[in-house]
């Protein structure tokens, strides 16, 4: 029987890596949908963190799990709004490439 000892550290490393990938993607990707996906990666990293802390730090309470549920909900709302805006801008510009959005200077 194979037993893995997965502790808090492993979860935190996983979540830190996921967060890093997401942040890198947000800063480097050119496609708006890809940026939105990377933001989701960052939020999922947060969820892993919250659940891991809930299990290892406060095992008798469910604060972290409740927090994670709210994060999931709000993330869904945010993505809904984000995609709607991407559709609107696609109709205006026929592109979702962030480099081409230059009506406003950065």
């Amino acid at each position: 029987m194979l037993t893995l000892s997965v502790g808090l550290t492993q979860y935190m490393v996983l979540s830190a890596i996921l967060f890093g990938i997401g942040l890198f993607g947000v800063l480097s990707k050119k496609n708006a949908i890809a940026v939105l996906i990377c933001i989701e990666l960052m939020l999922n990293a947060v969820n892993i963190n919250l659940l891991a802390f809930n299990k290892f730090v406060t095992p008798t309470q469910f604060i972290g799990q409740i927090f994670a549920i709210f994060v999931i909900t709000v993330a869904a709302a945010e993505v809904g709004v984000g995609l709607a805006i991407i559709i609107a801008i696609y109709r205006n510009k026929l592109s979702v490439n962030l480099d081409e959005f230059d009506w406003l200077k950065w």
Binding site: T73, L83, R91, L94
Partner: protein, 118 residues
């Protein structure tokens, strides 16, 4: 004897070899002849006309959005349903308020024509 993490490492290594191996083998053995139709998106299909980013129907998106709203709603209903007996009347009323707000949203979407296939 392997440590428990060793098994994970082997699994990871086999996974990488399996994926990378296929690509590498095909790269090594495939014939190199270049001609025009090789560069088309679908080698044996029709030639594409116009930009490949065509507009898709937004109706799909609207349905997906409505689905997500009511999908996420379930997360809140589930714990409440499990503990329904002990939470009592107050939580029941709170849940009715919650669902009422969502129904207002659904009604709005309906009235604005989001549920019609245009």
């Amino acid at each position: 004897m392997l440590s428990p993490w060793g098994a994970v490492f082997i699994f990871l290594a086999v996974g990488i070899v399996f994926g990378a191996g296929g690509i590498a083998t095909s790269f090594l053995v495939h014939p190199r002849r270049q001609y025009a139709s090789k560069y088309e998106p679908y080698e044996c299909g029709m030639e594409t006309i116009g930009p490949t980013w065509v507009q898709f129907k937004t109706s799909y998106f609207l349905y997906a959005l409505l689905f997500v709203i009511f999908d996420v709603e379930t997360i809140y209903l589930y714990p409440w349903a499990v503990k329904f007996q002990s939470l009592g009347l107050f939580a029941f009323i709170e849940m009715l308020v919650f669902i009422f707000i969502l129904v207002v949203g659904l009604w709005y979407a309906w009235k604005e024509g989001a549920l019609e296939w245009m």
